[in-house]
């Protein structure tokens, strides 16, 4: 009898469970429709949409909606089929064969063929700021038939798949962009034709753009949204108000702790720090190694020991940043924490400075140095903190506030700095974002190159080997050694990682988008809970 009841009870539970799952599944089936308003921070609306010739977060978002690419990258760093439905890589890693989807068409109705892919790769290689870093290794691109692309490399390149992302290698129609007009001023940059989930409906430069659903998108049934509207709001306070009102549905690249806090309090919004792993912004203090004061590694290490990273991350940045340990971002694949770190130790700092031959003079100071920073409130705070903090070990810091982004950029580019705070983006693979900062062959008069003047043949060799190493574990070991050396040598002292945040409206589904590129990837699977934007 008891057994019978138990059996019946279990059956009931099972039936209820099945009904519930069905109900939930039904209620949460993606609904088509609605406008999605993405708010751009002041000054950032792109001037055109051709992300093949221009980089930057602003252009990557609409670019990735208008143009498709061979693959997408998911949040586990794995490539997933997009315009390329499958691919093979040869044993020696030097030949990639991609098979394209066969029924993809551009927004003007013309079919997408391998010719367009080959054309796009050339354009990006020649004109994109990272074109050389990404595709120099490409020897040639063959198009045996309309839907097959063969990329032949000089050497194996582990970063190649990463470079085929929507934001980095958009597929441009040859019949539009290859008509002989110079690509940089081509009229189709502002009136783009691509094969992505959305096409451009209206563009008011400096104000907004409207993208509408591509009815012939090759991923059937997608996208769910009717329109994506990109709107720039010139004042950050007005942008926050718009988000809190629920009239703006996403605002990204938030890194000011005060603003993040304000948005977090809003009932309409949800904040996420995911989606920036591809960008991987890492912040550091850079030493100009040409200065006599900074030639000795003991001086650099002393300064590291004198900086309290806990204070910076927990107090100055209110817990919104994380301590960094080295040149490779902790959320990326090759990160290791097996490096030398510099917990606060003023005594050791003083000792090292004495040993390095910079004794305290009569006024208690050993030497003085100027400190500048990339314009922005988070770095300004750190600079202002460093002045009194480094005074404690006898270094007289002269703060040199940037007169603007351009003047700062030109000073650093011309190596006029002693010390500067800065950050760089990794752009997915260390080959794209990190090598340029440390390789001795990339010492140029330009910001975001090897401006510190670091020359270490051992590091050069490690980076060159890692650039060709296809075996993941071997590559990881090479980068581990690299990170260890940098942490000892300290041409740059890595201070913190600022997890950018995105605020999304709570009624949006399938956000944050599961990709290392965040919003700069096709937004074709986002939908509104009720099939339309909230009133």
């Amino acid at each position: 009898m008891k057994a019978m009841f138990k059996f019946l009870k279990n059956c009931m539970l099972l039936v209820i469970a099945v009904l519930m799952v069905t109900a939930i599944g039904y209620a949460e089936a993606p609904k088509k429709g609605g406008d999605f308003v993405a708010i751009y921070q002041p000054g950032s609306l792109p001037a055109h949409f051709n992300c093949g010739i221009k980089s930057g977060a602003a252009i990557a978002f609409p670019g990735a909606q208008i143009f498709a690419s061979l693959v997408e990258i998911d949040d586990k760093w794995k490539p997933i089929p997009y315009l390329a439905k499958s691919w093979e890589i040869s044993e020696d890693g030097e030949t990639y064969t991609f098979h394209l989807v066969e029924d993809a068409v551009f927004h003007d109705g013309q079919p997408v063929t391998s010719e367009d892919v080959a054309f796009s790769l050339e354009i990006v290689k020649e004109n994109h700021p990272f074109g050389a870093y990404m595709f120099e290794v490409v020897d040639r691109v063959k198009t045996p038939d309309k839907h097959t692309v063969v990329i032949e490399l000089d050497d194996p390149s582990p970063a190649l798949m990463m470079a085929l992302s929507p934001a980095l290698m958009p597929i441009l129609p040859k019949h539009v962009y290859g008509d002989g007009q110079p690509i940089r001023t081509h009229p189709a940059n502002a009136k783009p034709i691509g094969c992505g989930p959305f096409k451009l409906a209206k563009f008011e430069p400096g104000e907004y753009f409207i993208l509408e659903r591509n009815p012939n998108y090759f991923r059937k049934g997608l996208p769910y949204l009717d329109r994506i509207i990109g709107r720039v709001v010139d004042d950050i306070n007005a942008a926050i108000i718009t988000m809190k009102q629920g009239k703006g549905h996403s605002l990204g690249y938030l890194n000011d702790p005060h603003k993040i806090k304000i948005l977090k309090k809003s009932k309409n919004l949800k904040l996420y720090s995911a989606g920036y792993e591809g960008i991987a912004a890492t912040y550091f203090l850079e030493f100009n190694l040409r200065r006599d004061t900074f030639k000795d590694v003991r001086v650099r290490q002393a300064i590291a020991y004198a900086m309290d990273l806990d204070f910076i991350t927990k107090k100055l940045h209110m817990g919104f940043t994380r301590k960094a340990t080295g040149p490779i971002h902790s959320k990326t694949l090759f990160y290791t924490d097996q490096v030398k770190t510099y917990p606060l130790d003023l005594e050791k700092a003083n000792q090292l400075l004495d040993e390095a031959g910079f004794p305290r003079k009569d006024d208690g100071m050993r030497f003085s140095a100027t400190l500048e920073w990339f314009p922005g409130s988070d770095m300004k705070n750190v600079a202002e903190y460093l002045k009194p903090q480094l005074k404690k070990v006898g270094i007289d810091i002269q703060l040199k506030a940037p007169a603007g982004f351009l003047p700062w950029m030109m000073r650093i580019g011309n190596w006029k700095h002693d010390l500067t705070l800065n950050n760089y983006f990794m752009w997915g693979d260390p080959m794209i974002g990190v090598h340029r900062i440390f390789h001795s062959g990339n010492i140029r008069k330009q910001v975001w190159t090897n401006t510190s003047g670091y020359k270490n043949r051992k590091v050069d060799k490690l980076l060159e080997a890692a650039a060709e190493e296809m075996d993941f574990e071997k590559r990881k070991a090479l980068y581990a050694e690299f990170q260890r050396i940098i942490s000892e040598d300290l041409p740059l002292y890595f201070t913190y990682e600022a997890p950018y945040h995105t605020a999304y409206h709570k009624d949006l589904r399938n956000v944050p988008i599961p990709s290392i590129w965040g919003a700069a990837t096709p937004n074709d699977k986002i939908y509104w809970k009720n099939g339309r934007a909230p009133r």
Partner: protein
């Protein structure tokens, strides 16, 4: 005949002024470190030196200063203000597209400031020691001293967030469709806060001047005569005294017009108002030479025209001027 000659002379001076302004602005902008290519490179997060040189040559920025200046003046003389580096469009097209928005804002703000400013001033002048008069004084001082972007943001927070009556940015709701009357109403809704903000400084100034000027006029002999004749207070003030009291206000408007256009830059930025003020600010930050020079050129033209109109208004109001 005298008026016509004076007019023609004014126009010639204005043209000379315009040319001087162009040359001066060109010089000033080029003195600032950084050019449009540096901005482009900065936005891209870096580029190879070869690419930078290539872009610079494409834009003609590798030529020397005087060559660039003469090329520019030559183009302007032919009515070509060049291409904006930021927007990749002809400067004239951008400015004409956005000019109506700024004109709408500035004219609305001016009318509000003039109307309410003088009204408040006149009312206060009639009872100079009343509570109302003191209120007008305090209010004027506060509005005048408060930085215009602060006033704007405060109004925004109050009336767009806490009491959500007005939109928080822009000139119109993006993607709004409908009959003209609906769209006009939508624009008015968007116009309200920025116009009030821009008018706040000048409202204060005009009310003070109107009050002082009216008090002055009300104390004069011919006014006392009119009252003695038995005319009502209202008729005396609004029919006889007003015209004379207004003269200093009109002068002030003429003098301050250039300031209002400048104030529009800040207000347009706070409210994302799509006029030439907001792109003026942007073009400085981005060293967009052609766009900035085009905007400065137009602002000068506006101020010159406005001063001519002020002059005319003066002649109408004051029969003493021939």
């Amino acid at each position: 005949m005298g008026i016509l000659l004076a007019f023609v002379r004014k126009i010639i001076y204005s043209l000379l002024l315009l040319i001087a302004v162009i040359i001066l602005n060109f010089l000033l902008i080029h003195l600032a470190p950084g050019d449009p290519v540096d901005t482009l490179v900065g936005e891209m997060g870096g580029a190879t030196p070869e690419l930078v040189a290539k872009i610079r040559a494409e834009y003609g920025l590798d030529k020397d200063f005087f060559e660039q200046l003469s090329t520019y003046i030559g183009k302007v003389a032919r009515g070509n203000l060049g291409n904006s580096y930021t927007f990749n469009q002809p400067v004239t097209r951008i400015i004409f597209h956005r000019l109506p928005a700024t004109v709408l804002l500035v004219v609305s703000a001016l009318l509000i400031a003039l109307f309410f400013g003088t009204l408040l001033g006149i009312m206060a002048a009639q009872k100079p020691d009343s509570l109302f008069s003191h209120f007008v004084t305090v209010f004027s001082l506060t509005s005048f001293s408060a930085p215009v972007f602060w006033t704007g943001i405060m109004l925004l927070i109050l009336f767009s967030y806490y009491i959500p009556i007005f939109p928080s940015f822009g000139m119109s709701t993006v993607g709004l469709e409908g009959p003209l009357i609906v769209r006009m109403f939508d624009t008015l809704k968007h116009l309200f806060l920025p116009a009030i903000t821009l008018s706040s400084i000048y409202l204060a100034a005009y009310s003070r001047i109107a009050r002082a000027s009216m008090m002055d006029v009300l104390g004069s002999d011919y006014i006392r005569t009119a009252r003695a004749k038995g005319l009502s207070r209202k008729v005396v003030v609004y029919k006889h005294a007003l015209k004379n009291a207004l003269l200093p206000v009109v002068t002030l408007v003429g003098l301050q017009l250039s300031q209002i256009v400048a104030g529009a830059v800040v207000v347009e930025t706070v409210f994302s108002w799509p006029g030439i003020g907001s792109i003026a600010f942007k073009s400085i930050l981005r060293r967009d030479y052609t766009l900035l020079l085009g905007i400065l050129f137009f602002s000068t033209v506006i101020v010159v025209i406005a001063n001519l109109i002020t002059d005319l208004t003066y002649r109408i109001l004051d029969p003493r001027i021939k």
